[in-house]
């Protein structure tokens, strides 16, 4: 098969999309002008049919070029217009929507779309707390519908401390308009909103959901636990349901869990094949599906490349001149570090015996070339996801999702080595929740666990993706801040301390607050992992003895 190099194909796709964008902009503008003079009179029928056909064309085409919302909106209007023309229903509403179409999608048409359907979209939620001028713009946008203003403001404050850009609405119509102007990343609805019955808030959510093509995550808050209300919530696509009195910390946790999935780094695939054209083609297919891909046509370099790239999945050609795929797989499996990496073989022949031999030696999956792009994406996705989940389950703490004791220590070692190579500063932080035993004794372990989870979420949310966070002991956390000097680290940990102290936890109808103490230390030449942790721990001890609820960076 003759495949063009990846970059040429992508450049051509980009150009086509850009051409289409310009055309679409003109076309929506022209449609607005066209319908302006039209009425429901019978002599305008032909003109309306033409409008209908033009909408049909956009409905079919826009999504292919990445403008899914516009395509959906046109399809909707096309169907409404069809119905109106056949039943003789009034056209005023449709005319109104059509005339607003261009203005409505102007922002989408201004930005050059670089994403095709099915491709992972980068969501800018990973804001660096170490970058002081990171703007609120990059924070996930959350709209809240709540008629109790005091509670609403409290909720906004808590979400702001988790670095969400939260906006409160006390009016359903205003919320709907805001969603039209800028779609939020999540919606929090008070189902008991307005006193016209329990489902009023939900009806507003349903109306908004109806107008957006992409599934908008909705979280609902409600006083009753009525089954029918919850069922309706499920059917409206509500992601999380919280009964009142509302616990803002729980809500923030729900949001965090939901949005965390989007923040995960792309899955890494290493492909080894001696045929450069096949590699280019498969790379294009996988990269378009959101994978990070490295290709290699020299099998002898596989271990070196794996060391640097740390793939989640290895895809090997079965027959290569220097060594076969199964031979290469065995070499990889000699190294304990790579025992977990799934191996998928690609073969030009469907020879069942060769397949069996390959799988017996080492390997997890066998695919015959040529492979349909979706089949390749599906096979690699399934393997990569499973490998990631396993690795995460083995190294992550069940309560908090943070790294476990041994794993954070191991990763601190690696981070330290990297910081030395790159001559970058690195800080280690030991952090401990104050009087945690008292919380457990007074309110029970479940409440204590909630406090730990709230802090874990705050840390994950506010620190950078490149920072390491581990649950070191019961209520003790170890942070590794890469490329960060001590004064900056102290400032960050102190800001987090203030945010955490503002949280209000609920137990037995009472609310209470918690604080933490921390010791911060910048690594200096020659410090090993144990020394660093030991010295940071001494500073933590000092923070405790000086009265707690503080950050100490001096011995």
């Amino acid at each position: 098969m003759d495949h063009n190099p990846v970059d040429i194909v992508q450049e051509r796709l980009r150009q086509l999309r850009e051409d289409y964008r310009l055309w679409l902009d003109d076309e929506l503008n022209a449609l607005t002008g066209k319908v302006e003079g039209l009425t429901g009179d019978t002599h305008h029928r032909v003109a309306w049919l033409e409008v209908r056909n033009r909408l049909h064309k956009i409905a079919g085409g826009a999504g292919t070029f990445g403008f899914c919302d516009i395509g959906e909106a046109c399809r909707e209007l096309e169907m409404q217009l069809d119905e109106a023309l056949s039943t003789g229903r009034a056209l005023d509403d449709i005319k109104h929507s059509l005339m607003a179409l261009h203005e409505r999608f102007e922002p989408a048409l201004d930005a050059t779309i670089s994403v095709l359907s099915g491709q992972a979209e980068a969501i800018p939620v990973n804001t660096a707390s170490s970058v002081p001028n990171a703007t609120a713009k990059a924070y996930p946008r959350v709209y809240i519908l709540e008629d109790d203003e005091t509670l609403g403001h409290q909720l906004c404050q808590i979400l702001a401390s988790f670095h969400y850009a939260a906006t409160l609405f006390v009016d359903g119509l205003a919320l709907q308009q805001a969603c039209r102007a800028q779609c939020p990343d999540a919606l929090i609805l008070d189902l008991h909103f307005a006193d016209d019955g329990a489902a009023e808030g939900l009806a507003i959510g349903e109306a908004i959901q109806h107008e957006t093509t992409a599934q908008l995550p909705i979280f609902a808050t409600e006083e009753s636990q009525r089954f029918d209300v919850q069922l309706r919530a499920v059917r409206a696509g509500v992601e999380g349901f919280l009964t009142r009195p509302l616990d803002p910390i729980r809500l923030a946790e729900m949001l965090e869990v939901h949005l965390r999935g989007h923040r995960a780094a792309p899955m890494r695939v290493l492909m080894v094949d001696d045929d450069a054209a096949t590699l280019d083609y498969h790379r294009l297919v996988l990269e378009t599906a959101g994978f990070s891909v490295t290709t290699l046509d020299q099998p002898e370099l596989v271990l070196e490349v794996m060391e640097n790239f740390a793939p989640d999945v290895l895809v090997l050609d079965v027959s290569m001149p220097q060594c076969s795929g199964p031979e290469l797989a065995q070499i990889v499996r000699y190294h304990s570090r790579w025992l977990q990496v799934p191996i998928v073989y690609l073969s030009a022949s469907g020879d069942a015996r060769a397949q069996l031999t390959a799988m017996t030696k080492a390997g997890d999956d066998f695919m015959v070339k040529p492979i349909a792009p979706e089949a390749l994406v599906a096979a690699v996705t399934a393997r990569a996801r499973r490998a990631r989940t396993l690795a995460t389950a083995l190294s992550r703490d069940g309560l908090t999702g943070l790294l476990k004791h041994a794993d954070i220590k191991e990763q601190l070692g690696a981070a330290l080595a990297q910081a030395r190579r790159r001559q970058q500063p690195l800080c280690v932080v030991m952090l401990d929740i104050d009087h945690f035993k008292r919380v457990n004794d007074t309110y029970g372990h479940l409440v204590g666990d909630e406090v730990i989870r709230a802090l874990a979420n705050l840390l994950s949310r506010r620190l950078r993706e490149s920072d390491l966070i581990g649950r070191y002991g019961g209520e003790e956390f170890l942070l590794v801040l890469n490329d960060c000097e001590e004064p900056q680290a102290v400032r960050i940990v102190d800001e987090l301390r203030e945010a955490f102290a503002r949280f209000s936890f609920l137990a037995d109808q009472q609310s209470f607050a918690c604080t933490y103490s921390a010791g911060v230390l910048q690594a200096s030449a020659g410090n090993g992992v144990e020394t660093l942790i030991g010295r940071a721990d001494q500073r933590l001890y000092r923070a405790k003895s000086e009265g707690r609820n503080r950050v100490v960076a001096a011995d």
Partner: protein, 132 residues
Amino acid sequence: MAVLQRVLHVDDDESISAITRIALESIGGLQVLSCNSGRVAVEQAAAFSPDLLLIDVMMPDMDGPATLAALAEVVALDGVPVVFMTAKTQPGDHQEYIDLGATAVIVKPFDPMALAGKLESIWTDFHGSQSG
């Protein structure tokens, strides 16, 4: 079973023709002849000898079903599967095209990265059902 290699594509929309070519040629490794009307398709089909016909439903003058009827007269196209492409409207619509003799219907908008794979699986199913 023969391998799917040559696709004749009929669509009056230039931008869709262009992206379909990339989807099938560059990404799918297939050979494509693009025709901007049913009439042109009828003229060129026999010489190109396609393995599969991909036809847009809504075109001016000669629409998809009319094109299908005209192509049915071309002897060289006997046994060549026909796939219709249409913007989604009502779910019931598709059966009507199948009844006209289409093998499958692809709904617009389509994902260019997945189009070739979709045609390949339609091709495989078609030949499976022919031999079975």
